[in-house]
């Protein structure tokens, strides 16, 4: 790769490839200890330790889901109350207009429905998906991330980022391959 390509603004980061999850998590921990903050690990299956090692420990998905569920429950009950007490009061067999025991089931179903949709949509939105383009796919070996290999990418936007140093740092880990990724 030419000198210009390495230093131009088109660089997304430096990516290293690993064969085992151990090597990846170890490299993530070292990178974090070395002061890198803007980096991401790529794995073929969920590896919680990798997320922790790059300093990502809390997601807001559960909180969003809880809010969705509460909203769903309230709107489920609210709908039935509004229909049977306010909009269209109808005496059926002398039961009270607000016959709450009969309203429990739909309230429950709406809670689940809203919470489930919020969990999925929230997860996708926080992840920034759907995303038609991402620079990391420019790496010719990246197809292996959905197969059997593990990747760690230190991104160029990191304050501490320097191509030569990042490359040297990643080469010192257990990486089998280190390369620059164009933006």
């Amino acid at each position: 790769m030419t000198e210009q390509a390495l230093q131009g603004p088109q660089l997304y980061g430096v990516i290293a490839e690993y064969v085992t999850p151990d090597a990846l998590v170890d490299a993530c921990k070292k990178a974090r200890a070395a002061g890198y903050k803007r980096m991401d690990a790529y794995t073929p299956y969920p590896l919680e330790e990798a997320a922790e090692a790059i300093g990502f420990e809390k997601t807001r998905v559960p909180l969003l889901t809880l809010c969705g569920g509460i909203l769903g429950g309230l709107s489920g009950y609210g709908l039935q109350y509004w229909v049977h007490v306010l909009a269209y009061p109808l005496n059926v067999g002398g039961r009270p207009l607000n016959s709450w025991p009969s309203f429990i089931i739909i309230t429950f179903e709406m809670t689940i429905l809203f919470a489930g949709i919020t969990a999925v949509v929230g997860m996708l939105m926080l992840n920034g998906l759907p995303q038609p383009y991402h620079p990391v796919f420019n790496h010719p070996r990246f197809f292996a991330a959905s197969r059997d290999r593990f990747f760690l990418c230190i991104e160029a936007t990191d304050e501490k980022f320097d191509v030569t140093e990042a490359t040297r740092f990643l080469q010192a880990t257990d990486a089998v391959d280190v390369a620059e990724v164009a933006d």
């Binding site: 690990a41 790529y42 998906l129």
Partner: protein, 470 residues
């Protein structure tokens, strides 16, 4: 199977029951698992067997289209239903199909929460089974309404008539329960597919397939941050689907139990319906899994252990169902209610007695062979037993719907029920819908969850020194 002593047991079950056959035959690596599952869809040509099977069920699907078109043209009079038996096959089939779907959710959600790693290879197609079974179930209440083009009246929407649905009615609860169930099942299935679709995108050689799988994968790249949110959302969905699946068949049983018809008005209905649903659902899982593992050579991923476990679940839920039948008889006697007592006598000795005794035979007596380990380990015999159970569970709903309705209170309003050829055509047609969808699914989507299979590998776990670094 022999495992090196230092290899970590990959599931709770393995730790509890050492020495059982494994959930994944040893020798696999991340690479071989991926290649094996990907090749079923992307590398293998369409076989004559697949084409023949698909053509047969697609023919049945066309029978459904024809039967439904004629139904819309002539009305529900072409069916055997009339007063007093107004429900007939439509509701029998509806309950049967919804019940079959339940095993898929049980496998994907409840077994996930219970950390049953063996579920990983069967959950994907079990979820697909749920989705297609719910689709088949959804057909029946719609076409049974008589004027299906007005079925949207079931939903609460502001309208110029100024009227609203009756939320105190179990039939409306059913609308909400089943539509929520269909939505959550579809979401659960799709979310589970995303990482595997990315694998397909990266492995596909055909550019069109690459683009389609790429669009469906939404740009998934396996980022550690994404995985973390993904796992969290997936676990939450499982937690939400667990009470949901129990509620759905409970609500279906309320359609019966909330009414005052003899034989329906009992408190045992919800638990016994849920158990029956899982019973028939696992039977369908086996009916699908046994040919699939044979024809696609995935016996190393769907092992005898899976068949054994599924058979044990059937045995357990089958006994709960047997308890339900016993309790129905006991209620009839103990209630002291003349109509309840007559209902039971009529079931066992009346003109429909054949259906009751077939039900006892198929659902309670024959499945007791599952106590024998040799039967549980023999795919052929399991397949046969599962078919018997599926038929038995269909008969159960037939007995409940028809024998209770055809002779209820006043002898002057008793009647008989005989299904017509159109009843059978619609039922066979939904079998066509279900199996043609399954055939397409197997050829187009990863039928085994690739990324979850990877986590079953001992080498996918961190070594203790790295894990304990913090």
């Amino acid at each position: 199977m022999e495992q090196a002593p230092e290899t970590k047991a990959s599931t709770t079950l393995e730790r509890l029951l050492p020495g059982q056959s494994p959930v994944l035959t040893p020798g696999h690596t991340l690479e071989t698992i991926t290649d094996k599952i990907v090749s079923i869809v992307l590398r293998r040509p369409v076989t004559l067997g697949w084409l023949g099977g698909f053509a047969f069920f697609f023919g049945l699907l066309n029978l459904l289209m024809f039967a439904v078109a004629y139904l819309f043209f002539r009305g529900t009079g072409i069916w055997g239903i009339n007063i007093p038996v107004g429900w007939g096959f439509a509701i029998v089939n509806f309950v049967w199909w919804v019940g079959i779907g339940h095993a898929g959710t049980l496998i994907s959600a409840i077994l996930l929460l219970l950390k049953q790693g063996w579920r990983n290879s069967i959950n994907r197609f079990a979820e697909a089974m749920t989705l297609f079974a719910v689709a088949c179930a959804g057909v029946f209440p719609l076409i049974h309404t008589g004027r299906p083009w007005l079925a949207y009246w079931l939903f609460p929407y502001p309208n110029t008539m100024g009227v609203w649905p009756q939320f105190r009615s179990p039939l409306l609860w059913d609308v909400f329960a089943v539509s929520t169930y269909a939505t959550i099942s579809a979401l659960f299935w799709y979310v589970g597919l995303i990482p595997d679709l990315a694998t397909f995108r990266d492995s596909a050689k055909n550019p069109v397939a690459k683009v389609i799988y790429g669009l469906l994968a939404m740009g998934w790249r396996g980022s550690a941050r994404h995985w973390k949110r993904y796992e969290s959302a997936y676990l939450l969905l499982a937690g939400l689907a667990t009470p949901l699946v129990l509620s759905v068949h409970t609500v279906v049983s309320f359609d019966f139990a909330i009414s005052i018809i003899p034989g329906w008005h009992t408190t045992v209905f919800p638990p016994y319906f849920v158990a029956g649903a899982i019973y028939s659902g696992f039977a369908m899982v086996l009916v699908l899994a046994i040919p699939i593992r044979r024809f696609y050579g995935v016996q190393d991923m769907m092992t005898l252990r899976h068949l054994d476990n599924a058979a044990k679940v059937m045995l357990g839920t089958g006994l709960i169902v047997a308890y339900g039948y016993t309790m129905e008889a006991f209620y009839a006697y103990y209630s002291g209610n003349a109509y309840e007592l007559f209902m039971f006598k009529n079931r066992a000795l009346g003109p429909m007695a054949w259906s009751y005794w077939c039900l006892i035979l198929f659902n309670i007596l024959i499945p007791q062979v599952l106590w024998i380990r040799k039967v549980r380990m023999n795919p052929g015999m399991l397949f046969g037993t599962s078919l018997v159970i599926l038929f038995g569970m269909w008969l159960e709903r037939f007995v409940i719907v028809v024998t209770s309705l055809h002779r209820d209170f006043l002898p002057s309003s008793w009647g008989m029920y005989v299904a017509t050829r159109w009843d059978y055509a619609v039922f066979a047609g939904t079998l066509g819908l279900f199996f043609s969808a399954m055939f397409l699914f197997i050829r187009l989507m990863p039928m085994i969850t690739i990324f979850e299979m990877r986590t079953l590998l001992p080498q996918s776990k961190l070594s203790e020194e790295v894990a304990a670094h913090d």
